[in-house]
């Protein structure tokens, strides 16, 4: 756990991440030809789906970290849960922004209640509630409750997905395009998508590490402050 905050590891990670991102951007904007049916707007798909998958992964990390926190009662796991939730909400917002930007030219409408987007919206609500619950800087009882919410929220995901899909059948699908995006991915597109996904995941882990180390530093600072207070009083 200590090695997480080592500078050298961090810089290596950052460099690799920048390289992969540059490659991804090159592939997306220069190399891969635009989709035949959707045109250049389709390129947002790479960001949109990568964000969505990273978001799911982030919330999965929240769930696992929450379980570990309840089990082991270690502050580190709590910091991981909180950081993953913050970053997850960030990626979630990205999905909710890129979705409509994609939908508008393709479907003629800013928002259609398609299952993934709706699921993302509900997850946004759940994890924003998680962050609201954590608003207090550090309160162990609050951390425990947030951990419970982190677990409950993620367990709810398949149920939300199932119910939203069912619900969706009541609404007419957009006429122009079938859901889910393109009619199929060519190998070039698939490669580009995978590179983009890797870039996003690297970004997630980088942000996670940095955020966790900030949380740990903050924790150490508070502990030291308390020690000083005691020495002054006693």
């Amino acid at each position: 756990m200590q090695k997480f905050s080592s500078m050298r590891y961090s810089i290596c990670h950052a460099i690799i991440m920048y390289i992969v991102m540059t490659v991804a951007i090159y592939l997306i904007f220069i190399d891969v030809p635009p989709d035949k049916m959707q045109g250049i707007v389709q390129k947002i798909f790479y960001f949109h789906v990568s964000s969505a998958l990273t978001m799911f992964f982030a919330f999965f990390v929240v769930c696992v970290a929450s379980i570990m926190y309840l089990w082991k009662n270690s502050d580190w796991w709590d910091a991981v849960a909180l950081s993953a939730a913050e970053i997850g909400v960030g990626f979630c917002t990205l999905v909710l922004i890129t979705g409509p930007i994609w939908a508008r030219p393709i479907w003629g409408t800013w928002w259609s209640w398609d299952p993934t987007l709706t699921l993302t919206l509900v997850l946004w609500l759940i994890y924003v509630a998680y962050l609201m619950l954590r608003l207090e800087a550090y309160d162990p009882k609050r951390a425990r409750f947030a951990a419970i919410l982190g677990i409950v929220g993620f367990v709810d995901v398949p149920l939300i997905r199932w119910s939203v899909e069912k619900w969706r059948t009541l609404h007419p699908k957009p006429v122009l395009m079938q859901e889910g995006g393109t009619t199929g991915l060519t190998p070039a597109m698939l490669l580009t998508f995978l590179v983009c996904l890797v870039a996003f995941l690297l970004l997630f882990f980088y942000l996670l590490r940095e955020r966790v180390s900030i949380a740990q530093s903050r924790h150490t600072l508070t502990v030291l402050r308390h020690k000083i207070d005691e020495i002054l009083v006693g």
Binding site: Y138, H219, T222, H226, E230, G234
Partner: protein
């Protein structure tokens, strides 16, 4: 359980986030003994009692009550405990009788009606048994809280600042009860920051300061002035 040691604490530490409330408490208490824990506010007395009452878990250390591990076998420990605090733990919209009936059922007491009548007699609330508790005065509520505490024949009594908000009459009642239970070999732990009361009730006294027990000894032959001197040497 016939172990002579009723309460055994070893290396008990409790963190609340970054604050350490207890820094390693070691305590052994014999069955039938009455221990008074004195200390200033913030010493961690309430935290210690909450851990003994299984309402909180220690961050580290062992807590044994009547031979049971209070963390792993908490459900075996709870029926042995009677806890009295300055909050009464009572339901205002129920009568005294119903409150005691509820707790009696929770503890699975046999011959509940007779036992309820008995404790109401002890605290002298028989005539008000069927009035709603929210109509009671503070003193009456405290008396009912005492009845609730002793209802299930506890072997270990935990009193957290029991004198708070009580008038002279209620205080003498409480002291009578403690003496009575003491004579029935009930083990008692009482925490207070009031040096003058309770000293004569206790067999042993302990002084807790900033999360540690800084003094523990018999109260034999100690009068109020002597205790005051002792207290001021240990508590700055």
């Amino acid at each position: 359980m016939s172990t002579p040691i009723m309460v055994h604490l070893e290396g008990v530490i409790k963190h609340f986030g970054t604050i350490t409330a207890l820094r390693g408490i070691d305590l052994d208490l014999k069955r039938g003994c009455c221990l008074g824990i004195f200390g200033p506010n913030g010493a961690g007395k309430t935290t210690l009692l909450r851990i003994l009452a299984t309402l909180a878990r220690p961050s580290a250390g062992t807590v044994c009550i009547a031979g049971y591990d209070a963390v792993r076998e908490a459900e075996k420990v709870r029926p042995l405990l009677g806890v009295l605090s300055h909050r009464t733990f009572l339901y205002g919209h129920l009568t005294a009788y119903e409150n005691l009936q509820f707790y009696g059922r929770m503890f699975g007491l046999k011959q509940l009606t007779e036992r309820i009548a008995e404790v109401l007699q002890i605290v002298d609330l028989m005539t008000y048994a069927h009035q709603l508790v929210r109509t009671y005065s503070r003193g009456m509520q405290q008396r009912l809280a005492i009845a609730r505490t002793i209802l299930h024949y506890p072997k270990l009594l935990l009193l957290d600042e029991p004198y708070t908000g009580l008038d002279k009459h209620a205080i003498s009642r409480l002291q009578d009860l403690i003496l009575r239970l003491h004579s029935e070999s009930c083990t008692i732990i009482m925490s207070t920051h009031d040096l003058y009361r309770g000293l004569d009730l206790c067999d042993e006294i302990a002084i807790q300061c900033r999360g540690k027990i800084v003094y523990k000894g018999l109260s034999l032959g100690l009068d109020v002035q002597g205790f005051e001197q002792l207290y001021s040497t240990y508590v700055e």
